[in-house]
């Protein structure tokens, strides 16, 4: 095997990118392309599948195989792609409307089956392509064209759905941190099973600043906890804040205060099978907690497409029927000889020819 070397540039297509200037999507495509370049996978083995929404134009801007499908169904199309050819590196590009509303059912079932695809969920908490309606991830009370008095519903938190659907990989990133996005995408690609990467993304036009509280450079050190497997959950300007687990709940503490030492801080274990702590991390919200980023959960579990291949191989190992002719002749058959009566062509000649 020769080593496959790609650069991010190899993944850019000749199509002009038509997202709005300043859109968070530009940064996300950069991180995905950089990640792909580092995977050592041959270029033609990537398939990028999208649904409908601003983010779903993504495949046109990639030089890989791409399929821009219909609203909400990219997950199901991608499942078919992966089953047809498990050697492929299959990526789903979707948004909060595409994956959490019209495609909610396919989303949870993809995660439940643990088919080995990488799903990047652009979460801008708004319908952009239809020009500004609230989405299933919009906060309660959010005012939009279809909720002029504020929404009266609570949002989905994508990570909660992933845990609820027995997900094996969940990570969170944010558009303006390209390096984090790149690292997460590499881990997502290497994870065997469904990898869900939620990227908090800004929509300049219809929901500008939705994630500013989290991403504001002046405060982000205090408001973002970037998790790394095996490392203590530390954050803050001085990197002296951390998380502990007390009385069944997470708690923000400061090292050096109230006798807290570095040893008291939780160490992140993304591979812990019990999802309780992962769920607690997913649920953290401002202002009481920082928002968790990085790979929150990454656990091994049986992978659907691998199981499918194995099952076929196992059945074929002991098979009695190995081709169509054998199947046709199997079971109860009987022979009709000419002495049963003269060959009667009436059945045949009265029908249309097949070919």
């Amino acid at each position: 095997m020769t080593e496959i070397k790609h650069t991010a540039k190899d993944f850019k297509s000749e199509n002009e990118i038509r997202w709005c200037p300043g859109c968070g999507d530009f940064a996300i495509i950069n991180s995905v392309q950089r990640a792909m370049a580092e995977l050592g996978i041959s270029h033609e083995k990537f398939a990028v599948i999208s649904g409908i929404g601003c983010s779903s134009r993504f495949p046109y801007y990639m030089s890989t195989y791409g399929f821009h499908t219909i609203h909400g169904r990219a997950t199901a199309v991608a499942s078919g792609v992966k089953m047809a050819n498990p050697d492929l590196s299959v990526w789903v590009i979707t948004g909060d409307g595409d994956a959490m509303a019209i495609g909610g059912n396919h989303f949870i079932h993809l995660v439940r089956r643990n088919i080995d695809v990488n799903l990047v969920l652009f979460n801008n908490k708004i319908y952009g392509l239809t020009k500004g309606q609230y989405s299933p991830t919009s906060d309660r009370g959010f005012k939009t064209k279809t909720s002029p008095y504020g929404t009266i519903e609570d949002p989905f938190v994508p990570g909660q759905l992933v845990i609820g659907a027995r997900g094996t990989f969940f990570a969170r990133s944010i558009d303006n941190n390209v390096k984090l996005g790149q690292e997460i995408c590499i881990e997502a690609a290497r994870h065997q099973g469904t990898s869900v990467v939620e990227v908090l993304q800004n929509c300049m036009i219809y929901n500008n600043g939705v994630h500013d509280e989290i991403s504001d450079p002046a405060f982000r050190a205090d408001r973002q906890l970037i998790l790394k497997h095996g490392e203590p959950m530390l954050f803050g300007q001085e990197n002296n804040k951390g998380l502990t687990f007390e009385k069944g709940r997470l708690k923000v503490v400061t090292i050096g205060e109230n006798g807290v030492t570095r040893d008291d801080i939780l160490v992140h274990d993304a591979t812990e099978e019990d999802p309780s702590l992962h769920l607690a991390l997913i649920n953290m919200q401002l202002p009481d907690f920082p928002v968790a980023f990085g790979v929150i959960r990454r656990v091994p579990a049986p992978v659907y497409d691998q199981e499918l291949t194995q099952q076929i191989n196992l059945v074929q190992k002991n098979r009695k029927i190995s081709c169509m002719d054998e199947l046709l002749q199997s079971g109860n058959t009987w022979e009709v000889t000419a002495k049963n009566g003269a060959a009667d062509e009436s059945r045949k000649c009265n029908k249309n020819e097949y070919f």
Binding site: Y60, T64, T69, G80, S322, L327
Partner: protein, 607 residues
Amino acid sequence: MIELEEVAIRFSGDSGDGMQLTGTLFSDTTALMGNDISTFPDYPSEIRAPQGTVGGVSGFQVQFGHKHVNTPGDYAHVLVAMNPAAVKANARFMNPGGTIIYDQDAFNEKNLRKADFKTDDPFAECKLEDYFKIPVPITSLTQEALKDMGLDNKSILRSKNMFALGLVCWIFDRPLDYIEEFIRSKFSKKPAVVESNLKVLNAGYNYGMNMQHMTPRYIVNPAPIEPGIYRNINGNHATAWGFIAAAEKAGLELFIGSYPITPATEILQALSERKDLGVKSFQAEDEIAGITSAIGAAFAGDLAITTTSGPGFALKSEALGLAVMAELPLVVVNVQRGGPSTGLPTKTEQSDLLQTLYGRNGESPVVVVAASTPSDCFWFAYKAAKIALERMVPVVLLTDGFLGNGSEPWKIPSMAELPDIKPRIAKDPATFKAYARDSGILAREWAFPGMEGFQHRVGGLEKNIAGSVSHDPDNHQKNSEIREEKVQRVVDMVPDLTVCGDEEGDVLIVGWGGTYGHLISTVRELRKEGKKVSLAHFNYIKPLPRNTREVFARFKKIIVCELNMGQFASYLRDKVPGVEYHQYNKLKGLPFTVKELKESVVKLLEE
């Protein structure tokens, strides 16, 4: 022994009485003896409707004969009734003067009331007085036969269908070997079940032998059938196998994405069994995921299919449009049932034709083919796959509940005699463009992920030749016309329409799909009576065979017979205008009867 040309038997009882199995075993035995057969399972959509009620009656009709049998029979000559409700439900399906074998133990006060009989004489209430009735204490004889087995009463009663089966086998001179072998292998892990079933089966057979004075015995000689190796097959299995054959011939892997729905589920089941042949079966979370996963598999290089029935087909509409736009090879099977909405899930109908042709947003042409008998579901599944793969176009195969569940003997083909299938797999990366076409057939080439140098994008948005999004007005007009014309050019894969009967005459019966058996029987009977009637039966709906108009022009009158309100007739009025189309339509969830078809044609002849 009385020699008969053909006999229709209807097994009927509670949905839990095992009538489908009883009917199937009798049919298989009969086919093995060299008779031609045609079967029709007729069951309720409830799995276990209230016991003893008319709504819970499950029936299985089989017609077998010494000559060719094209239908399961309009009316049954023999009814096996396990309870009074079975008599009530089936009285209208009885041939005048027929025979009724019934479990007299079950004809008690309680069951009569459950079946809503007002008096204690169900036969009089159903106007069946003149029928030949054979009362048999099936329940008590079954209990008697098993009294030493130490079984509980519930298990004992579960075997009483075997008593009925044994008895019917004796009456029609069928040996028990096949059935015995079936029982042994099906319950191989439960020796007690094998023993009890065999005991009861033989008890029923011996009962007939011992009571010869009161049970008539019939013989139906084998039919003159073309020599060869045969098997019995139903439409859903034939459909499934047609796709496996196509995948093998094309050198591709077969993928099915599907969601269980009556009466199509069996295709998914039959393909799920075939991991030995490498079939990838995917039970999706819903109908939409069924077709979209198949579209994904088609994009990635598999022969991909999805199977459904009317309501599921409606859910797949948008995705089918995606396959039209992406120009991917995909076959969708619609095993039609009574509609609209949930309609009549277990009953047959042909009312999804216009949905199939037109039920999508935009100008969204697909190829539409229809199978006409249980066994030729194999051939049309094969052909649908061939068209899809060679023309890069979605194909819809229409069958129906009658074909899907019905069975007939089938002369087994060998793979060598099936025509080649040559998928349009791209060969030259230097010249490849996603939507570049062959100038003759207008099909694009198929390049899938993993093929080096062919990277491209497809999708639901209108595209230019390279696969980039295009909103150019002229491009959309041109592509819309090309997509339609591409489907029309499939006509060169469509054989000319064959006329059954004389090439010209007074009346041409026109039909399509699953009504073939009833229509050809009608034509044969009318021709025996000297009427100048022929049949033109359509398997290709879009595009229509080239010679359609020419065939129509040779007849004085045309009557289009369908199990809907005239969908094919209205399609023909549009596509072959200038012809007067009479109609005979039926919407009862039941197949045609030859009797009613003959009457409508005779009426037309006399007009």
